[in-house]
C-alpha cells in the first residue's frame, strides 16, 4: 500500500507497510554491508498474531481472533474500553491530559520532526506521531457519532473492525513514550500520552499487554516482589556473591547492609542490574560505603526491586507496585529512598505515584544523582580522572531528564571523572530516546528486537557514532555512559547488533562505574574492558 492515510489501517491487506529506506548512519556505518538486513517474517506469526501492520510483532498477547465471534468480542471490548477513557469514573488519573490531547490537535505536524522513530524509519507514515492519535480520534468519533453526517464531517471516516483494533494495538508499541514530540507542540499536546492511553485501554479493559511487561513483569512483581521472580533467599545469596565480586575487583572487603532498620537511606535498584550488570550495584556499594553513608538494601523483594513496568501501560499496576514499594520502605523505617540507575523507576517513584499517598506513607524519594554529585563536590572521594582517559559520551534517560528535570548533576559527576567527555547532540531535556524506552528494551519476542535495533534505537546509535567521530575507527576504548538499566540494555543490544564493540572498541555501562574506576585507592581498573597491565603501569606504579 503506497500513500498511507489513517483510515487505511482498517483495510485488509497482508501488511500495511514495509519498512525500507531507513535513515542513513554516519561513518563508519555509511558503507554497504555494515548492518544486517531485515529478516523475513515467519508465516506462523502472521496467522497467530498481528504482523499485518509493519511486519513486526511486539505484542504476543495480542492474538489474532480465529472466529467471527472472537472478532466481535475484540471490537466490542475495545469500544467498551474506549468509552472508559472518556469517563471521569474510570480514567480519573489522566482524563484532563487525555481530553486535551484528544481534542485540540491542529495537525500541524511539528511533532513529526521531533520523533526519532519516524525519522529513523525514513519517515514511515504510520510512525508519524499523529498517525496513531488520528486513528484513535477517528475510531472514537465513529463510535460516538455513528455513521451520521456529523461523524464524517468531524473525521469519523473509518471502519472499526478487528484488523483496525489489532493494528492499533501493535501501533501503540511503536512509540517509546519519550514525549519528545510534546516538547515541540505549539498547543502543548502529547501524542506519547495518547499512545499510552491506547496501551492502557488494551491492558485495563482487555487484559492484553506484552508478556514481558505484564505477565512476566508487573504480575510477577506483585506476586513475588520482583519482575525477576527472585526469592528472598536467592537475593541474600546474590548479595553474598556481590561482596565476593567486589573483593575480587578491588581487593577490599565490604559488608553490604541489608534490612538495616531506621537507616537514613534505602537504596533501590532495578533488579535486572544484579543479574546483568552486577558491577553497577557493586559500584554503589563502594561509593556509599566509602562515603560513610547510613544506608541499606531491603531483602523484601518489593523493597529492593525498583522497577515499575506499570508506568508503560497500566495505571492500576503502576499504582499497586508504587504503593507496595513505599510500604516496604516505611516498614524498614528509613528516612528517604534513593533510586539507583534506573530511569523509569525514577519517574515511577518520584513523579507518577507522587499524588497517590499522603502523610507517613509519603516517604521522601530522590535520585542518586544529586547525592553523588554532592559527595564528589565535597571531595569525599580521591579521584584521578586520568584513569578514565578515553572518549566518553553520556546518554540522558528520558525519564530522568525530560520527565523529571535532572540534567546538571550527571554532568557535574561525569566532568569530574572523564577528561575526554563529549556530549551527544541534542542532549539533556532535548535528548533522543535510546529506543528501549517504555518497555522496548525487555520486549524480545518474535522479531521485535529487529524493530528496536534497526529503527527505534537507530537515532541513538547515530548520536553515539557522531559523538565519537574522529576517534571511532581508532583502536582505543570508547565508553557510552547510560545511567539507566533499560537504556543500558538497549545500548548493549545496538552495540552487539552493529558489532560496534567488536569492530570499534565501543563499550557501555553506567555512570557510577566510571566514578569507581577513577578512585585512586584501588590498584586495578574497575572497568573490565580496560587493559589491567597498562592501567596499573600508567596509574598505579608511577
Amino acid at each position: 500500500m503506497g500513500d498511507i492515510r489513517p483510515q487505511d489501517i482498517s483495510k485488509p491487506s497482508e501488511q500495511l507497510v514495509k519498512v525500507e529506506n531507513l535513515m542513513p548512519l554516519p561513518a563508519p556505518y555509511d558503507k554497504p554491508g555494515m548492518e544486517p538486513d531485515f529478516k523475513e517474517i515467519k508465516d506462523s506469526w502472521k496467522e497467530d498474531y498481528c504482523a499485518s501492520l509493519d511486519g513486526f510483532v511486539g505484542n504476543e498477547a495480542l492474538v489474532r481472533p480465529k472466529t467471527k465471534e472472537e472478532e466481535e468480542a475484540l471490537v466490542k471490548g475495545f469500544l467498551r474500553g474506549l468509552e472508559k477513557l472518556f469517563s471521569d469514573e474510570t480514567n480519573r488519573n489522566y482524563l484532563q491530559p487525555f481530553l486535551l490531547s484528544f481534542e485540540y490537535c491542529a495537525k500541524c505536524n511539528t511533532c513529526s520532526e521531533a520523533c526519532h522513530v519516524f525519522k529513523a524509519s525514513g519517515e514511515q507514515e504510520i510512525y508519524r506521531p499523529i498517525f496513531r492519535s488520528e486513528v484513535l480520534r477517528k475510531i472514537a468519533k465513529k463510535h460516538f457519532n455513528g455513521d451520521s453526517f456529523w461523524s464524517k464531517f468531524t473525521g469519523g471516516d473509518i471502519d472499526i473492525n478487528a484488523e483496525t483494533i489489532l493494528r492499533l494495538g501493535e501501533l501503540a508499541y511503536r512509540c517509546n513514550l519519550c514525549r519528545r514530540c510534546a516538547q515541540t507542540c505549539p498547543l502543548g499536546l502529547d501524542n506519547g500520552l495518547l499512545a499510552r492511553e491506547i496501551r492502557k485501554l488494551f491492558s485495563m479493559e482487555l487484559g492484553i499487554a506484552p508478556k514481558p511487561l505484564h505477565e512476566k513483569g508487573t504480575m510477577l512483581q506483585l506476586k513475588t516482589g520482583s519482575s525477576t521472580g527472585i526469592t528472598k533467599d536467592a537475593f541474600l545469596d546474590m548479595i553474598e556473591f556481590l561482596e565476593e565480586d567486589i573483593y575480587e575487583r578491588t581487593g577490599k572487603k565490604y559488608k553490604i547492609p541489608v534490612d538495616k532498620k531506621g537507616a537514613d537511606i534505602l537504596l533501590t535498584h532495578n533488579a535486572g542490574e544484579y543479574m546483568a550488570w552486577p558491577e553497577n550495584p557493586a559500584a554503589f556499594v563502594i561509593l556509599f560505603e566509602e562515603a560513610g553513608l547510613d544506608w541499606t538494601l531491603s531483602s523484601d523483594m518489593i523493597g529492593y526491586d525498583n522497577v515499575n513496568y506499570g508506568l508503560f501501560y497500566d495505571d492500576a499496576q503502576t499504582r499497586k507496585i508504587g504503593l507496595a514499594q513505599l510500604k516496604a520502605a516505611k516498614e524498614l523505617g528509613v528516612r528517604r529512598i534513593v533510586v539507583g540507575e534506573c530511569g523509569h523507576a525514577h519517574k515511577a517513584a518520584m513523579v507518577s505515584i507522587d499524588r497517590a499517598m499522603v502523610g507517613e506513607d509519603n516517604i521522601p524519594r530522590e535520585s542518586f544523582l544529586p547525592l553523588l554529585a554532592d559527595l564528589i563536590k565535597k571531595g569525599v572521594y580521591k579521584l584521578d580522572p586520568s584513569r578514565n582517559d578515553f572518549p566518553v559520551t553520556m546518554h540522558d534517560p528520558c525519564n530522568v531528564a525530560r520527565m523529571m528535570g535532572v540534567i546538571q548533576p550527571q554532568r557535574d559527576i561525569i566532568k569530574a571523572v572523564a577528561p575526554q567527555f563529549r556530549e551527544m547532540y541534542p542532549h539533556g531535556a532535548k535528548n533522543f530516546c535510546c529506543g528501549g524506552g517504555s518497555g522496548f528494551a525487555i520486549m524480545k519476542s518474535f522479531n521485535f528486537p529487529e524493530f528496536r535495533n534497526k529503527i527505534s534505537s537507530r537515532m541513538k546509535f547515530k548520536q553515539i557514532l557522531e559523538a565519537f567521530q574522529g576517534v571511532m575507527e581508532e583502536d582505543i576504548p570508547k565508553y557510552v555512559a547510560a545511567p539507566c538499566s533499560n537504556c543500558k540494555g538497549a545500548i548493549r543490544d545496538i552495540l552487539e547488533y552493529y558489532q560496534a564493540t567488536a569492530k570499534f572498541n565501543v563499550h557501555y555501562g553506567g555512570l557510577v562505574e566510571l566514578v569507581v574506576n577513577a578512585m585512586v585507592q584501588f590498584d586495578r581498573p574497575f572497568l573490565e574492558f580496560l587493559d589491567e597491565e597498562e592501567f596499573v603501569a600508567k596509574h598505579v606504579k608511577k
Binding site: 480519573r92 491542529a106 500541524c108 511539528t110 498547543l187 544529586p370 525530560r402 528535570g405 532535548k430
Partner: protein, 302 residues
C-alpha cells in the same frame, strides 16, 4: 433591531461558551503528574535548560521556589508569538502566525472601534465627509483603528486562505485534515472576505463605529446587504468557535499550566497534600474489566 440582538447574543455566546469550556476542564478530577521539562517556572537557569528541584539534594527540605516571571514570559512568548512553532516549524509559522496575528489585531480593532464609538457619543466626531478630525485624540483613534483593522483583515485573510490551500495541496497535511478543519479555515476566510467587501466601501471603518454605537445605545444597526451578511457570518463564527477545537485558547492554558508545567510536589502538610487526600478518598463508581483489575467481571462474562 434583530441584528443588534444577534450581535449581543453572539458576543455573549462566545464568552459564555468559552468560559463553560474552561469550567469543564477546570472541574475535572485531579490527574496524575505528567509534567515535561523544561518547566519555565523553575527558578534560575533551570527553567531554561530543563532542570528542576529534583536536582537538589534532599529537595523536599529546601524551600519551594517558583519563578512566576519565568512562567509568564514563556506563556507570553507562546501566546503572542507561537514560539514552539517558530522554533520547530518556521514555514508553517509564517502562515499560522499571520492568521493569529490577524485575529489579535482585529481584537485590538474591536476595542478601538468601541473607543471611537464612545468618543463620538461624547460629542467628538472622528471623521466627517471632509476628512479626519484635527483633534489629536480623534485622529489617533481613527488611524489606529484603520491600521489595526486593515492589517488584521489582510493578515487573517492571508493566513486562513493560505492554510486552507496548504491543507488542500500538501499531501501530508491533506491526509490528516477532516472536512470540518477545511470548513473552519474557510469559515474564517469567509468572515474576513465579507468584511473586506464592506470595508472597501468605507475604508475608515465608520460602519464599525456605527455598529458599536448601536450596541451601546441598544438601537437598531443600519446595515445594507453586504454588512448584514458580514455581521451574520461574524456572529455565527463567534458562536461556533468555542464549540470546536478552534477554542484552543482555552485548551492551551490547561495543556501547559495544568499538565506540562504542573510539577507541584506532594509535600507533607502542603496544600497539595490536602488536594491529594481528597482525591484519593474518592471511590469510583465504575471499573475496568481486565482480569487483573476486576476478576468478577470475567466471571460474569463466563
Amino acid at each position: 433591531m434583530l441584528l443588534t440582538v444577534f450581535v449581543y447574543v453572539s458576543i455573549l455566546a462566545f464568552i459564555g461558551l468559552s468560559l463553560y469550556k474552561a469550567y469543564q476542564y477546570a472541574k475535572m478530577p485531579m490527574h496524575g503528574r505528567w509534567e515535561l521539562y523544561p518547566v519555565p517556572k523553575e527558578p534560575g537557569g533551570k527553567g531554561h535548560y530543563g532542570g528542576s528541584y529534583y536536582e537538589d539534594l534532599e529537595w523536599w527540605n529546601k524551600p519551594r521556589e517558583v519563578s512566576h516571571a519565568g512562567e509568564i514570559i514563556d506563556m507570553l512568548k507562546e501566546m503572542l508569538f507561537i514560539k514552539n512553532l517558530f522554533i520547530n516549524q518556521r514555514r508553517q509559522w509564517w502562515l499560522s502566525y499571520a492568521l493569529h496575528l490577524g485575529i489579535y489585531l482585529l481584537g485590538l480593532w474591536t476595542v478601538l472601534l468601541a473607543v471611537g464609538a464612545i468618543t463620538e457619543l461624547s460629542g467628538l466626531t472622528l471623521s466627517t465627509p471632509e476628512g479626519v478630525s484635527n483633534n489629536a485624540w480623534a485622529s489617533l483613534v481613527y488611524y489606529a483603528t484603520f491600521i489595526s483593522g486593515g492589517a488584521g483583515a489582510l493578515l487573517l485573510g492571508f493566513g486562513s486562505l493560505s492554510l486552507f490551500l496548504k491543507r488542500c495541496f500538501n499531501n501530508t497535511f491533506a491526509k490528516y485534515t477532516t472536512p470540518q478543519e477545511y470548513f473552519n479555515l474557510f469559515f474564517l476566510f469567509a468572515v474576513v472576505a465579507s468584511g473586506m467587501v464592506v470595508w472597501s466601501a468605507d475604508p475608515g471603518f465608520n460602519y464599525g463605529r456605527e455598529i458599536m454605537k448601536a450596541l451601546f445605545t441598544f438601537s437598531p444597526i443600519q446595515a445594507d446587504t453586504a454588512l448584514t451578511i458580514h455581521i451574520l457570518l461574524l456572529g455565527a463564527v463567534m458562536i461556533y468557535i468555542p464549540q470546536t477545537k478552534m477554542s484552543h485558547y482555552v485548551g492551551k492554558y490547561f495543556a501547559f499550566h495544568k499538565v506540562l508545567w504542573d510539577n507541584e510536589p506532594n509535600l507533607r502538610n502542603s496544600k497539595m497534600e490536602s488536594i491529594v487526600k481528597e482525591a484519593i478518598s474518592y471511590k469510583p463508581k465504575a471499573s475496568w474489566s481486565a482480569p487483573h483489575i476486576n476478576p468478577a467481571a470475567q466471571q460474569e462474562k463466563k
